[in-house]
Symmetry: C2
Subunit: 484 residues, 2 copies
């Protein structure tokens, strides 16, 4: 009898697993006699006690039956699955095995996770990697350690730790002009879960919704997976062109980035903010305000959030700590209109019972101690210097080859390449990657392909010297492409 | 002008928020003149600089316009929402604002979270509260602290930390007889998320599925919220009555608890396991094996998981650490058939991008160091003593009034009350609660109401003396009710 032991865990368990597999595969037929333990031990070069223990285990599980004096036999009933014709035993093809939603999820996933292959680059200008701050990391570790000692063993509040929700309210009042009470806040596992919960609670398959064009593709993917009929609305230098918002059809919600449009960086003007709120009110539509890095703005003071203007309770405000602390911290929050609070909490509770309590407690401490906002102030200074360095290098080394779309966004710059074709831009990205520089096309974020290609350049985690070196390589690649 | 400051954050921000609210409410009409800063400061008893700073902020936001020498005026365009008739401004009634799924979520939520009101009881025999173990808590804190220092700042792998997945495979091989490789494992935020992801990927609204009766209500709620057509299948002393599994209609999946049925504690016999696998294969149905506390069994050695018998790739195995470490740790895992792996990972990625990396790393360390399995061995001894104490007290003090349904489950005992009506049982629960004892009816877990009421008695976190005291009070309440 051929038995393959898998070298995991105690030897008698390895042998029991291998025997079980042989029995279930039919290699040991139902009712057939198993080798004597002494013979098996010799064959496999193991101790007889090991073989005896494995047989005892299989016997306890009922797979084999020992008959005193005449050895062990495979139990008769394990033959049952054999009655199934071989054709049916095949794992069914993927598609029919999944729900329609499951199939949609698989479809959007196949085109997803950009930049994952870019790990290990020398200079990765990927959007979404926040500034590393060792002081913050230290404060975080201390807060986490304290929290681990204090947190109750009980199930967490699905809406989020009350102490964290209170700290979030204080922070939003101080920094984003939002008046909220802890009961308005739902703690979630990052922006992505906020979108997913909103999609569950607000959208049926086939319902219409609005995305800005261009937009954050993570939003499109989750809503597309829910079967939303996505329409897009144009963006110009003053943000979403609210005059073009649809007034026909059933539109349940719009996802907007008023603080600075993602990825163009445009700030939605105040008149348009009022128009947007008015539209939502008239159409009974919800507005999901993704304030993705509303903290960081250069030049003017950050505008207050759209939520702060919302008198009719149409705005769902979404904030995240992943992009300002570190991405592995999967915590964010929603500020909800009163009419949606209970349903959203229900959705969160049904989805995962609540976010991790220890990290919530640590975050509450980090905000309450002032360490979080100290980091924000420090980060704003550092990011401003990095942004200047990147802008300076781009202008000096790429000059007329680029057009900077924006200069006020927090962690990235979008540049258009007016004299470059889409194919050339693709080559540029590939050549730069080959030389250790990660830059990213804006095309995946666009619904309609723009005439000109664009590049998204994240600068948050690279010091000025690295940004300069990266732009040098980029310029070199571009001049080769344009002359070649 | 009446302005209410909210005492949160710097005073100038409080004033700016209050003024903004007055403007948006229409109390300060568009185009109207605001009070002079000096007059306002006097009225509110604040410094003039505070008033100036608030006006400057509102001016930057475009809500007010300063005219040199003639004071500040409310911007004209903020009037726009006023054009909407008052009737439309009302927040719409709840139901139409939500998706069908959102409405279903709200419906199941309203009946949910049993036991939440029982917090603060002297003796809470609630199922699901695991044994407190200070040694484990210490090991966990150390592991967490180390993990926080090591974890990468990057976005986590949505499938779960490879190191944790490898540790889970080793653990499953040693303790549950399952041969899995790390790529089969998906790390999730507890059992609840495993159900939610499976519902997303496998079920469309209207699809049929099977639950055992009785069953864990958290499973019913999440599938019901997804619009599943739930059918139930009877349970007897040998577990799920597989002969009664439906052979008609489109049944996509069954949720089963073979290790010990929840809440009756029955162990699914091996012939029935084979029948169940055969049924799933023939019907192209998925089996979700909820191995909710498969670790703990008294008497015989724990049976290997159903998953270990699954040759056709129909079983989705679900395990959780919340019930064996502490509930606030929201980590669990699924062992997936190869044909479902990609879709489930996509669903997890779309839902929240992946579970918290630091706690995953800490858990990997806890398993790898052996501390987790030391805890399991220790807990098994402690739980056995507690179970004996509870069984002994029940038999001594309640005697013929009860019938113990099971004596091998890990963290709770189910007792039937053969001589008690459902109404009396309800009174029993209330009176016991009034005297500080939390006990729980089995009815919410049942699809069909049983003739006799039953009580679910969780014993994991109560020492023998407390269990005895609780049973004494329970017996006292019951005798009052039966004599009254």
């Amino acid at each position: 009898m051929f038995l393959q032991l898998d070298a995991r865990g105690p030897q008698y368990l390895q042998l029991a697993r291998a025997l079980k597999q042989a029995i279930l595969d039919g290699r040991c037929a139902p009712g057939s006699r198993l080798p004597a333990t002494r013979a098996l031990a010799r064959e496999l070069d193991i101790s007889r006690n090991t073989a005896l223990a494995a047989y005892a285990l299989l016997s306890e599980e009922g797979l084999i039956e020992g008959r005193s004096g005449s050895g062990c036999y495979v139990a008769a009933f394990v033959a049952m699955p054999k009655r199934t014709p071989a054709a049916v035993v095949q794992t069914p093809a993927r598609a029919p095995a999944l729900s329609r939603r499951g199939q949609r999820m698989l479809t959007v996933y196949d085109r997803a996770i950009p930049g994952r292959q870019h790990r290990g680059l020398r200079y990765n200008l990927q959007y979404g990697l926040p500034m590393t701050n060792p002081q913050l990391a230290g404060a975080w570790r201390r807060a986490l350690n304290q929290a681990a000692a204090r947190v109750q063993a009980d199930y967490p509040d699905p809406q989020g730790l009350p102490g964290l929700r209170a700290q979030i309210c204080g922070y939003l009042a101080r920094r984003r002009g939002i008046s909220a009470v802890p009961d308005d806040v739902l703690v979630v596992n990052g922006t992505q879960q906020a979108f997913a919960l909103a999609a569950d609670v607000l959208l049926d398959a086939g319902d219409g919704m609005i995305l800005e064009d261009p937009h954050y593709q993570g939003a499109r993917q989750v809503f597309a997976a829910r079967g939303a009929m996505i329409r897009t609305c144009r963006v110009d230098a003053a943000g979403l062109v609210t005059a073009e918002l649809p007034v026909d059809g059933r539109v349940r919600l719009a996802v907007v980035t008023p603080s600075h449009q993602f990825p163009t960086g445009a700030v939605l003007s105040l008149p348009r903010r009022m128009q947007l709120l008015d539209w939502a009110q008239r159409r009974h539509a919800w507005l999901i305000e993704d304030d993705y890095d509303g903290e960081f703005r250069y030049g003017a003071r950050p505008l207050a959030a759209l939520k702060s203007l919302d008198r009719a309770g149409r705005v769902i405000y979404v904030g995240s700590f992943s992009k300002v602390i570190f991405p592995a911290l999967r915590l964010g929050y929603m500020v909800l209109p009163a009419s949606l609070r209970e349903a959203m909490v229900a959705a969160k509770w049904l989805t995962d019972r609540g976010s991790t309590a220890i990290e919530q407690a640590a975050l509450a401490h980090l905000i309450g101690s002032g360490a979080f906002e100290r980091h924000l102030r420090r980060a704003a200074i550092v990011l401003r210097a990095r942004r200047s360095a990147l802008l300076g290098a781009l202008q000096r080394l790429l000059g007329d080859a680029i057009e900077v779309a924006d200069s006020s966004a927090g962690m990235h710059i979008l540049v258009w390449l007016p004299h470059t074709s889409h194919a050339q831009a693709q080559t540029l990205v590939e050549r730069a990657r080959a030389r250790g520089v990660g830059v990213y096309l804006v095309a995946p974020y666009c619904h309609k392909l723009r005439k000109r290609p664009g590049l998204l350049l994240g600068y948050a985690d690279l010091p000025p010297a690295d940004l300069l070196a990266a732009v040098r390589i980029l310029a070199d690649c571009l001049s080769q492409i344009r002359s070649g």
